[in-house]
């Protein structure tokens, strides 16, 4: 198996990971940046094949080689051992040895089950945005955007740019909640400006508050969605439903590495101290993995984590004030946009909650113990290993396979048995010296 050695390995090349890698490289550390995707940027700065990425993203992504960062795209970390991770790649697995590691694994979209949510044509809001940027056919397609949070506006704007007919945006939060949120935005003027700009770009797209998609209907694919706007229900014919309920941190790698999680909130985050250090001495974390905080928070924390990991206390501390501001904004977002009771009550007994093993909600209710739920119903035992159903069940405050202490096991993603059978030290080290 090929080997690489780094002083600092950054896992995840979104805004947090990019910032960490650059900060580390500027301090002269031999740094590796690894991501499962073929391009850097994470979901936030996903390369749009028609429109590229924002300038801020280009400034981080283009100079990776010039900055002396070893960039490993298409490498998915699947195994963790002492100061080593094994990443799967199309050409075979690679062992990455590190002295320090920064977890910048970001977040995924929270999906909540509702009748018809498994139909082709139903995606996450961020999900369809990502697909669109990578060429998903949307020209002339009728799209309904629903769920909750600012991501809906950003997604709708992208979809429109790619030729979709956005029939409407259905925001679950009530008008009064949104006004309360807007009134607090004066503290973050850039955010306010951003929100207004997005609204302007979406002029002409009907926008509804206090509105929830109840069901999706179709035979083999989506035909129509049922919406409750607060003043009655109606069916809307459409080709795509992009429904998002906010984000959930990706903590699987942290768990595999033995990092403690903080489970006080509904969705676990990596527990870290004031210096962004996890419970494992040589592992730091930054960005969404520490709790949903957004892009700007991720950038600052990425740099902070690298500073602290490399012993630059002053550099890390210098970023603290900005970081705290960003985290405060995140708290505000969460307070106003978390899915409400309506969203929690969408699934019926027949609605599948585990898509990988086709397990309905009715099966879930029979088991209070999360392990028993998994073992008896197979909920969480399929390809996604409980990532989708686990987060949904946690959100719904039900027993969730992800609550089991042994929820995360190697490999983190399916990988040829050869990668597990071949040891890291089977081949001599390639190229780079420490």
């Amino acid at each position: 198996m090929k080997q690489r050695r780094f002083e600092l390995l950054v896992v995840g090349a979104g805004p947090a990971g990019l910032a960490a890698a650059h900060a580390a490289a500027r301090r002269g550390a031999k740094v590796g940046l690894v991501d499962a995707q073929p391009r850097a940027g994470g979901p936030v700065w996903r390369h749009d094949l028609r429109f590229g990425v924002p300038a801020a993203a280009r400034a981080q992504i283009e100079p990776l080689g010039a900055a002396g960062i070893e960039w490993l795209p298409g490498h998915e970390v699947v195994l963790a051992d002492d100061h080593t991770v094994v990443a799967d790649h199309a050409d075979g697995a690679v062992a990455l040895h590190w002295r320090k590691l920064v977890i910048a694994t970001g977040a995924r979209e929270l999906m909540l089950p509702f009748p018809g949510w498994t139909l082709p044509g139903v995606t996450g809001a961020g999900g369809l945005q990502a697909l669109a940027k990578q060429g998903w056919p949307l020209a002339g397609k009728r799209v309904v955007v629903a769920g909750s949070g600012p991501l809906l506006l950003a997604a709708a704007a992208t979809l429109r740019r790619h030729g979709a007919r956005v029939l409407g945006i259905h925001e679950q939060a009530r008008r009064s909640t949104l006004h309360a949120f807007a009134r607090r935005l004066w503290r973050w003027p850039a955010r306010l400006a951003q929100a207004l700009e997005l609204r302007a770009r979406l002029a002409g797209v009907p926008w509804h508050a206090g509105s929830v998609v109840l069901a999706a209907q179709g035979d083999e694919t989506l035909r129509a969605v049922e919406v409750d706007c607060g003043h009655g229900r109606e069916w809307i014919e459409c080709d795509q439903l992009a429904v998002g309920w906010g984000l959930v941190p990706n903590v699987e790698l942290a768990r595999l590495l033995g990092c403690a999680l903080d489970t006080t909130a509904v969705h676990p985050v990596v527990r870290a101290d004031a210096r962004l250090r996890s419970s494992q001495a040589d592992i730091h974390a930054a960005g969404e993995a520490l709790g949903i905080g957004g892009r700007d928070c991720a950038r600052i924390e990425g740099a902070m984590a690298a500073c602290f990991a490399l012993g630059d206390e002053r550099g890390g501390e210098a970023l603290r004030a900005r970081r705290d501001r960003e985290r405060a904004y995140a708290a505000l977002l969460h307070a106003h946009f978390a899915p409400g009771a309506d969203a929690h009550a969408l699934a019926t007994a027949d609605t599948l909650v585990c898509r990988c093993e086709d397990v309905p909600m009715s099966a879930v209710h029979a088991h209070a113990d999360p392990r028993q739920l998994r073992l008896v119903t197979r909920c969480g035992m399929g390809a996604c290993q409980g990532r989708v159903c686990g987060a949904a069940l946690r959100e719904l405050r039900l027993a969730s396979p992800s609550l089991s202490p042994t929820a995360v096991r190697p490999p983190l993603a399916p990988v040829a048995l050869a990668a597990l059978a071949d040891g890291p030290s089977d081949e001599p080290e390639q190229g780079n010296d420490p």
Binding site: A36, Q37, P38, P43, H47, L49, R50, R108, E109, M111, T118, L119, P120, G121, V122, T123, G124, G126, G127, L128, Q129, A130, L131, Q134, G135, W136, P137, E220, T221, R355, C356, E357, D358, G382, A383, C384, R387, V388, A413, P414
Partner: protein, 80 residues
């Protein structure tokens, strides 16, 4: 914009260079695979988490189409 041609279930599909395999499959049809009980499925999350976009590419099964860039001459097979 440059385009490239690959095949999806034996049918040639033309997509822009930089498109994902998922986009190419979607150009051909909406169904990517069948679930454990035979239901039609297509991508949900767009970022490699949900595994609903798995297809066979050049003989290798179980690959997530949303994580891979389309390449000229690729043979993609869904399991509808």
């Amino acid at each position: 914009m440059n385009t490239l041609v690959l095949s999806v279930d034996g049918v040639p599909v033309e997509v822009p260079d930089g498109a994902s395999v998922a986009a190419a499959v979607a150009h051909r049809g909406p169904v990517f695979r069948r679930s454990a009980s035979g239901q039609p499925r297509a991508p949900l999350c767009g970022m490699g988490v949900c595994f609903e976009c798995r297809v066979r590419i050049d003989g290798v099964a179980g690959l997530r189409a949303c994580m891979l860039l389309a390449r000229a001459g690729m043979r993609v097979e869904t399991q509808p």
